[in-house]
């Protein structure tokens, strides 16, 4: 987009190649909650989050993207993002770095480091300017710590009269760490595969998607087990809770209506975990926004619950398994104000109603946690 400001066409005219462009996006955000008994995070890649004090860490992000267009069908894209991440630093990460080759308008091939669309819009989660609420509805997105793969994807487009059918397949290997209290779970080397089918008809977009991940490593619980259980039982617990070489499956459907002042989204997911250490879950959200001049008030509702399973008499194992339990719903109310070109201000309230044992989404929760809290957020999103 030429108006995303920096563009240096090397040839002189905007359409001549090769061309290089530099674009960026960012969010300055503050959030606070009404509970000091747990830290609220944007997603599980963050090791700690907001409490009663205004906290700028969870939503603030800065991204920079360079595009090299070699010809009308060949492009290289690299994107670096700095955000509060698993090791409590803002170390920039290479979120995208890929070649794209579009031999014709119906086929697009990409290879390199790619964002994954585990669920609809999951590959643009960090670009606050691109969506209505402060952050993608948490009950749907927070436990998707899989931001990208080193791999390849292929997208195909088929016109159906005036409608458009689009399909995509991807495969790759993760390169990520997920923070767990004072340690990190390395999921690098985990293989991910997935795909989706979109059907776009005028203002309506329907999507069915599927993805899976084959975890490469166990969760880092060996020392806990070794410290709290006799050796024989520890070994038993370790194999009972093994995550390595288990596969988790992610199914989702979504509908978007986007025309005139209306923006409506409805999405549902079903996550089937392959290991005993995680609980399978179902989630969903609905979001409705209506634009009135520069203001778009929105209202949303999200829900997630997991199935307790794999009964165990061992209290240490039971405690570890209970860590992935979730059962809560959230009411979302907010407004987006497009205050200037390429700048949006947002203010949002999230009312979270969970059971006291709904602790999977949070960090540093204490035994006094009641499962209920309000989250207040203000952000400034921009692109340049």
């Amino acid at each position: 987009m030429a108006a995303l400001v920096f563009a240096w066409p090397l040839g002189g005219r905007a359409d001549e190649v090769p061309a290089f462009s530099l674009q960026g996006f960012g969010t300055l955000g503050l959030a606070r909650t009404t509970s000091q008994e747990a830290r609220f995070v944007r997603d599980l890649t963050q090791p700690t989050g907001a409490g009663r004090q205004w906290d700028g860490r969870i939503d603030s992000v800065l991204g920079l993207q360079a595009n090299w267009q070699f010809s009308s069908s060949l492009e290289f894209v690299a994107q670096a993002v700095s955000r509060f991440r698993y090791d409590q630093t803002y170390t920039p990460e290479l979120s995208w770095a890929f070649f794209r080759y579009d031999p014709n308008p119906q086929l697009s091939l990409r290879a390199g480091r790619l964002g994954t669309e585990f669920f609809m819009m999951a590959d643009s989660r960090m670009v606050g300017y691109s969506y209505l609420p402060v952050r993608p509805p948490g009950d749907f997105f927070w436990y998707l710590p899989f931001l990208g793969i080193d791999g390849a994807d292929v997208a195909m487009i088929f016109p159906v009269g005036e409608d458009v059918l689009r399909g995509k397949l991807y495969y790759g290997v993760s390169d990520a760490n997920i923070p767990l209290a004072d340690r990190q779970w390395k999921i690098d080397g985990s293989k991910m595969a997935g795909g989706y089918v979109d059907y776009q008809s005028g203002p309506w977009l329907f999507r069915v998607s599927y993805a899976n991940i084959l975890f490469s490593n166990d969760m880092p619980i060996d020392d806990i087990l070794g410290r709290t259980l006799p050796p024989g039982m520890a070994a038993q617990a370790r194999s009972f809770l093994a995550a390595a070489n288990t596969r988790s499956h992610y199914y989702s459907i979504g509908v978007i209506y986007d025309r005139g002042p209306w923006q409506v989204q409805l999405m549902l997911n079903d996550i089937n975990q392959g290991s005993q250490i995680f609980q399978s879950s179902k989630g969903g959200y609905a979001l409705v926004g209506y634009r009135v001049s520069a203001y778009t008030p929105y209202f949303g509702y999200s829900r997630i619950f997991s199935d307790s399973r794999g009964n165990t008499l061992n209290p240490v194992v039971a405690r570890i398994m209970a860590d992935s339990h979730v059962d809560q719903y959230t009411t979302i109310l907010g407004v987006r104000w497009d205050v200037a070109r390429n700048i949006a201000l947002k203010a949002q309230w999230d009312g979270i109603h969970g059971q006291p044992d709904s602790i999977f989404p949070y960090r540093l929760e204490t035994d006094a946690f009641k499962g209920k809290l309000d989250v207040f957020s203000v952000t400034m999103d921009f692109v340049f």
Binding site: M1, A3, D15, Q23, V164, P203, R341, A344
Partner: protein
């Protein structure tokens, strides 16, 4: 205020289009004409008031909604937005010099180099 029309390169062989076909091309959903020729859309800069008129008439959207849409496409590496030019004259030059050129101009500005394929009802 005169009516906006959508124009294509006169040699594309396209005589008439529907609103959904135009939406598909300008939003990058599907950039091909019915006869297989690749569509090459050109857009205007925000500062040109015809841009806001065009998207308002086409999909009822404010420019910030359109720009938000493109930021999702660009930063998820899916595609770039159509190139943007400053003036109607540049739109006409683009459309007439690209085999699949398509743009929007005031009806009164459309000349023999381009063919009108869609008119917005006032």
């Amino acid at each position: 205020m005169a009516d906006l029309v959508v124009v294509v390169n006169a040699r594309t062989g396209v005589a008439v289009m529907t609103r959904n076909e135009i939406v598909n091309i300008f939003f990058g959903r599907y950039r091909q004409f019915f006869n297989g020729i690749e569509a090459q859309p050109v857009d205007l800069v925000d500062a040109n008031p015809d841009r806001a008129r065009f998207y308002s008439a086409l999909v009822g959207k404010d420019l910030s909604d359109v720009n938000a849409y493109w930021s999702r496409q660009v930063f998820s590496g899916r595609m770039q937005a159509p190139p943007r030019v400053n003036t109607v004259d540049e739109v006409l030059r683009w459309v007439s010099t690209h085999p699949g050129g398509i743009g929007f101009v005031d009806l009164s500005k459309a000349d023999a180099r381009v063919r009108v394929v869609y008119e917005f009802n006032p």
